[in-house]
Symmetry: C2
Subunit: 226 residues, 2 copies
């Protein structure tokens, strides 16, 4: 399963937990996991995260708070999220190894939680500093040896470069499909393991049907590029 | 008032909200503000933030989630925090201006919330990428024109460099005092406006007495360096 769905609750569409549970139920058995961010966690609370985690039926729950603090603070946060049933946490590579990701990785290993590091983002501001530091950020990721890294589907060159340097078992998760511009399957063709899709699926009238379409487009692209 | 207290609830010392309210009450009228982070917000919830904000009696409440996402996600988060009574939010300069801090600044202005940008951190891992990008990060801060920026008290050279480049009315908030190594007053002497102190005060037997001591040390240092 090559699809992860980002559950970013739309503003003004009622209770975020009810909304998220509806999407989760409708995508049962179709996706590898769901990604929740700060807006969901702030509005639904850690109790909402617990409720969501109980309804996943085998799918992964990824907390995408883009942790970017000292190791102590990130580790406590990871512990609180793991206690609520989260399977993976996302942190920024740019905070570095020493007294930061080193500590978080250790905590994640102790908790049995998967660590995912953001190595590049796709919005325009990412070119101002992050892309210039791409080499250093990738090196930090190699040192931390997380479960996976995040690279944008809108810049498949970065994915190709990373795939050559990473060990086989380090996953690449790739957002930016749909509203942000990339086509389903593009990132997979470049070497990503999972594509993260949000609004294209969650705001469609029929999220299940749309998810199936995305999976079919992925398969078709993979067939063409392999 | 030159002191901001970081309310990072110690693990295993009971309910974080009760703990934080106790500290806030004991420091009434003595400090400029309080800073809360992800561990507090995850455990006390947005309701806990509301409860805390109602007890401040004029002190500022700063949400230090070190936001580091695209503008849309950071803006929604800032809105939810503002609705709970937060006066200022901290984000990373690292994510850049376009489609990121530009949007967040606009949202903060609309909400009447102060924006504070992290330009440098003090842990060892900060030297791996962040310090190398210091010039770029400071430029981004100048472009965003936030209410303030964060620079570590443990590296007063960075504070001196920034103070020369920043407009008078852009505040410098400086953590790293006490447990992390800097002496109260050092950052102020280098050009900071506020020093952020956490455990040195919050874990002391008498937080009020300790805060008064810190303020006196600040005054003494300022007298010596001016």
């Amino acid at each position: 399963m090559t699809l992860i769905v980002a559950l970013d609750p739309p503003v003004g569409l009622g209770d975020p937990l009810t909304w998220a549970l509806g999407i989760v139920d409708s995508l049962h058995g179709v996706v590898r996991g769901f990604k929740i961010g700060l807006p969901f966690i702030l509005s639904a609370g850690i109790k909402g995260v617990e409720r969501l985690s109980e309804r996943l039926g085998g799918a992964m729950l990824i907390a995408d708070l883009k942790l970017a603090d000292i190791g102590y603070v990130m580790s406590i946060s990871a512990k609180l999220l793991a206690d609520a049933g989260v399977d993976a946490v996302i942190a920024h590579a740019f905070v570095g190894y020493k007294d930061a990701l080193e500590d978080l990785k250790k905590m994640c290993d102790d908790l049995g939680v998967k660590l995912v590091l953001v190595v590049a983002m796709s919005h325009r501001g990412a070119s101002e500093v992050m892309w210039k530091a791409y080499g250093d950020l990738l090196e930090i990721a190699l040192k931390v040896a997380p479960w996976g890294i995040v690279l944008p589907a809108t810049n498949t060159d970065l994915i190709r470069m990373a795939r050559k340097r990473l060990r086989e078992n380090m996953r690449i998760l790739s957002p930016g499909i749909g509203v942000q511009g990339a086509t389903p399957g593009e990132a997979l063709c470049a070497g990503a393991d999972y594509e993260i899709v949000g609004r294209l699926i969650t705001l469609s009238r029929n999220p299940y049907q749309k998810a199936i379409e995305v999976l079919e487009m992925q398969k078709e692209m993979m067939r063409l590029c392999s």
